[in-house]
Symmetry: C2
Subunit: 335 residues, 2 copies
Amino acid sequence: MTHPQPIAWRGDCLRILDQTRLPAAVEYVDARSAADVADAIRRLAVRGAPLIGIAAAYALALEARNGADVRAAAAELVATRPTAVNLRWAVDRVLAAWDGDPARAEAEAARIHREQIEADERIGRFGADLIVANATVLTHCNAGGLATGGIGTALGVIKTAHVGGKLVRALVDETRPLLQGARLTAWELEQAGVPYEVIVDAAAAGIIARGNVQAIVVGADRIAANGDVANKVGTYGLALAAAAHSVPFYVAAPLSTIDVATPTGAGVGIEERDDAEVLAFAGKSIAPDGSAARNPAFDVTPAALVTAIITERGVLRPPYGASIAASMKQAVAAS
Amino acid sequence: MTHPQPIAWRGDCLRILDQTRLPAAVEYVDARSAADVADAIRRLAVRGAPLIGIAAAYALALEARNGADVRAAAAELVATRPTAVNLRWAVDRVLAAWDGDPARAEAEAARIHREQIEADERIGRFGADLIVANATVLTHCNAGGLATGGIGTALGVIKTAHVGGKLVRALVDETRPLLQGARLTAWELEQAGVPYEVIVDAAAAGIIARGNVQAIVVGADRIAANGDVANKVGTYGLALAAAAHSVPFYVAAPLSTIDVATPTGAGVGIEERDDAEVLAFAGKSIAPDGSAARNPAFDVTPAALVTAIITERGVLRPPYGASIAASMKQAVAAS
């Protein structure tokens, strides 16, 4: 099984797989400074909250090695994606470890990278245990190694279930408007040798109704203290269809995705992105000139529709207010 | 308010708006024989069950006028889309009226066309009465004049509500994979001066959850005797989201769409179309080479999720077994 290596530390540069070119081309860019990494983050060559954090950590290691201004670079990196919690967290960790010694910065970046790889592996094992034999498992967007640097969260569960012989196939929502499912998840499953079929997002409910899906596993962008899940737009509709047909709906995410400062999903702002993502594709307009669009990037799935949240410290079950609080407490005690 | 004129009878030809070219280009082809019309139906230049029936009726009028073999032409036309019920029904009506006289064939084709236009108007009025003031109404695919030759069924309701001052805007699902929403419905609403916004299909549930939709109106490909509705894939997911948030879910369709020989939606075969429709977007490949897809063209919405069925003979309410049977009986008595 081959996993993507979306970033690779080369000592004098960070080699970055350019995700904007997938699946048409597998191309790498070598970032030799924090400015190069910041540019790659801005143009989405590197994406996925955990992976952005790791890339920024290595960017500071590069900057320390180059004898450049590490604190200025840290500020530039944090500004690239101001809402990504992992980004600031990773930058702060490297700054604290650095202490003027490039070797320490590099070691801390490598540690953050390794921790995420290990978290993915644990999420994969905990999640695969929940998958029944001969399952078709549906996923949305890309919560894969391309977003984490490891085997992925939701895709970590799918890949581990495949290795365990439980998986018939993955069903991959194409995930309009930016097609992270058709472009990135399909590519990643192809690399990993996991059988998959791509579907349009709107086909999922009917396929679930016909009994052809045994589990749904998705990632998360933010999980509120009560277990409400903000994730890529389309996740909520999947959760409704799952509930209507008693199909388990799992969210796979590291504990760092849980924001206890957000009490419920109502407190999560929904980013509205550019109309052009909806109205054009590959530079070609699909709607009449002058059309307007709405383009919410996320939606919120209420905790009541979530069967379980799969974390690197185990599987959280309802009521999530209690299970999340207990898990966060254990994590703090262990760190 | 401008409505599309997807076909126009010119005496010596049937002028057909080429829907495959919309919205990039508004182009017409002049069909001068039944073979020309059959070709236009096959390549989807003319689409929508009612409109295909009307086009086939005019095709026989052309054939009668040309002194050609009308019965052979009828067989060719019926074979173009074997599952379209309206097609066979319209062809049979023209054959029965013809009796060797080209003028009679032409008059019957015009009558079928006029009846559909009138049915759309009635559906529009009955449906608009159901829409509350200041409504945002969501629709899926294209159940418009481009599919009927009139003002449309679901779009007839939206246009009539707009004329009545009730509509804030229409929300238009883009309707992957063939984008009939973004391409055709958006174009038709633009022509009609109805304010609209295009959304990706997966965005609907989250927008409904935030209270921004007051009604959903869709068309139907087939309605079973119990009120189960087969329609473009994605309809079922919309109905689930509507039910979860107590948003009325209306189906607008002529009585000819109801198939009393199909007891429930379980009896409706779901056409699986070519993978290539999913794996490419606007002609460009979006997934890795060798990817597989599933491409169901329709799904089935159970009658329990349908608030009302809007027909040209009035609004049908649950229990649909009884209301459909009564309505069909009245229609037969009136004909």
